[in-house]
Subunit: 276 residues, 4 copies
């Protein structure tokens, strides 16, 4: 029976790398988790078990460590570009080398009031980069935020299965995941990342929210307005509901004070905004 | 600045449902986790905070429970179709209702040698269904398998970063995730699911593997050959490496007996096969 | 300032081992996760950084692999005893070598109706063993069960914060964790483990439950009554609540059919039973 | 057969509570996860299914919300004491009410350079409190740290299974979990917690480590020396190994720069220090 292999890709996931850059007593620390996927003319490995076109995933892993040694990591977007370029330039049959990198955030421990030279504490957020088909995308994940007022949700459709009460004042908690694609050319990826992170946080904080969609759009729009290097931004935000507890059975009111936060079920809102 | 909202969707995730169907003393149990996403003309909710087109995600959750009460769940593909149809038929502005369902596998406890009427034990695998743009896709996840021989990996590219030894006999462990799309029309989804599961397991067991790609392709091809109702199958298989332990420092050989299984890094192989 | 080091122990966690035992074409598979803790005269390593009494945790890991090669694994209780004995016999300053082993359950894939010689599929449950101060404890974890009737909960204390309705018929879902200590001497650990597992399941299924405590006690009592080799059993069972959905707002009744299972919050019931 | 119920306890886990305290425009946020266990004369519920002594775990959950409404939460140690006292004072048959609380860390978003009144971002660490048998224990978990030098490991036992190389300079990464018991009396729990956290970080950063044991002891000793209110401290630190990558096969050296961090296997070091 004729069967078509319509898509294929393969690679190595969860390649972990810590690099210490030692400039005298002051050390820098990079902590990356790297995911590589190659797409190309690999059909024979699938249909015939002919591996002559296959870059072993173990070799991919080794390549990460060798390239990490050869030069400074730089920003993760830059390291991703080096890796993609390595696989593409050596393998004419590879049409895309997709490199996804997640960087853990480490900040210096403060000791005696000063940032320490070689000791670090890890934060909750992750910085991400994706190189795919030559496009550089940066991102953030694990940015968990909550605002305790200036969030409403009203005017939605009511049908026979609607029991949710409209509200002018609810808690709004979410875990922001955002990814933004840069226009062609080199950029100051580190500075831009910190700028976008701050915009996302400020708009979340300052916005008079009429719904998660509304705030998500305001966040994305503000990033595009204020950072000319960015072409497109995708944002995904779960709505981590905080339910007001009904204290009436205990003879108590609950003036928007006591809530049960829940992980499931949760709303999920996604959108892509593009510079027109 | 003109900003385009190029894509958007939203919905409710992790809606959990247990339904007990009581036929005299013998009970049936369905345990589902449901994820709903609507795509359509929701722009005003993003740009203006105008929610008049928004089906509240809380209403989506309620709808799941109401529809579960109105009629038997049936197969998860059928329940997914009912849910999709509900949202599409009532909301002209919704262009797709994507419904993803994960079903936990429960089997009857055997007591005194007989399957019990109302007591169940949970297995490791999950059955999945996806309704998207009218196409019904079924799947399996959490099917963790390992074979201890008849798996080779040779003949791949060697460059200066290649250290992996070629082998004619290695362990091959993976966690199969597969999804297959049915052609139009009603099908015996439960029977077909069990048939596909068995084909995947048998081909994995019997295949003389020259690589993960090779076995993955044989599994997909066999499903398409033997199940006429299926148009396309996507399979994703991590390569959960079992590394042979070097016992030479202790004066011991290791004739393919003692291994360290590792979760990271891991290879990952993906492909889509289609009936031509 | 005088500070006392009142307790200390250290070791290696998550040492993973797969051993394949090849008896002609038919292979056996053991998949273990091992955790080692030594207690003893290690004070100088804490107070002075004097490591002369320290068995490096890397050496512990190597020892696992070397001992796995030297002889068949046998039952995990036996392998645990060999490991404990190794560390105790060589290190007079070690007063306890606590060995905890978790074994993943693999069953043979059935192909063409027969159990396959060298291909396996993983189940959900884990078998555990613990060697501590010479006592052999076996256990099970991940045994997730649910019964759809013959479970009541009535007659508990009512105070001003009680809103739970009494019920003669609820769902009862839990994830059984049990550990049982054997009396001194060698035992048929594999057979006994399967016997205990089956007793736990049967009593869960057959018991007319008046509460989680009640069923837990019946399960433990039955194990002690029917397995003379066991001195003591500890059982821990979360109460994974399935909440009846209120469908009245939609004009529907809910005759114990449609439930929301929840992971949090959950009840948790623990007890230890001992042969008197 | 006579069976003794030698130990029992039960309760509610993962009771989640968010409380917003609104002081004009400036809001405070408390985000707690609470675990309650009662020990006492509950035998009849186990042996007979007689629940007349049972406080339903659902009532425990309601009690958390009611007490949260009645008064400010205060420090989690104080809220834990209120909860314990509630259950003990009303139930003469309860001999201990163990309350464990985990608090998520939220800090104010900075917007326009100022801490925002009602918007927060979540950190990685958790503050913990435990009330058990009248003793107040505070703690921290999720404090992940790494130092890139001034960590050695030498002079340990060498036997035939030892392959680890001695080193004067390695990376030292861990996730600190610490719990400290206060002497009787009221304390400034918030200030003390921040003081202990800072001591743990500073000693980790400044210590010339001869081993994980050595640094752990120095950390605990320093806490006892500098905080008179603390009687005892328990610290648990995994050794999250960063392995130097062997780049020699690629013709490269690796002067302590490129590492693979690993989660498994990992060392684990535990100790309890007490004021003498």
């Amino acid at each position: 029976m004729p069967v078509l292999l319509t898509k294929n890709r393969y690679g190595k996931s969860r390649v972990r790398l810590v690099k210490v850059e030692r400039h005298g007593p002051r050390h820098n620390l990079k902590d990356l988790n790297i995911d590589i996927r190659l797409t190309g003319a690999f059909e024979a490995s699938y249909t015939l078990g002919d591996n002559s076109s296959v870059v072993a995933t173990d070799t991919m892993k080794n390549t990460v460590y060798a390239l990490a040694r050869q030069a400074p990591i730089g920003e993760i977007e830059e390291f991703g570009l080096r890796l993609a370029s390595h696989f593409l330039s050596r393998n004419a049959h590879v049409i895309d080398a997709r490199i996804a990198i997640t960087e853990s955030e480490w900040t210096r421990i403060h000791s005696n009031g000063l940032p320490h030279d070689h000791s670090f504490v890890q934060g909750a957020e992750k910085r991400t980069a994706l190189i795919e088909q030559g496009i550089v995308t940066a991102g953030i994940t694990g940015l968990v935020v909550l605002k305790t007022t200036r969030s409403a949700f009203e005017g939605y459709i009511h049908d026979e299965y609607t029991t949710l009460k409209e509200t002018k004042d609810r808690l709004f908690g979410t875990a922001i995941t955002a990814e933004w694609a840069y226009r062609d050319g080199k950029h100051e990826y580190g500075d831009l990342w910190r700028t976008v992170r701050q915009i996302l946080l400020e708009v979340f904080a300052e916005h008079d929210s009429l719904g998660v969609q509304h705030t998500l759009h305001a966040m994305g729009e503000s990033v595009l307005e204020r950072v000319a290097e960015i072409e497109e931004i995708r944002i995904s935000m779960p709505n981590r509901h905080c339910m007001l507890v009904d204290l009436a059975p205990f003879g108590m009111d609950n003036p928007n004070e006591v809530f049960v936060p829940t992980d499931e079920p949760h709303g999920i809102i996604e959108a892509t905004l593009r510079r027109s």
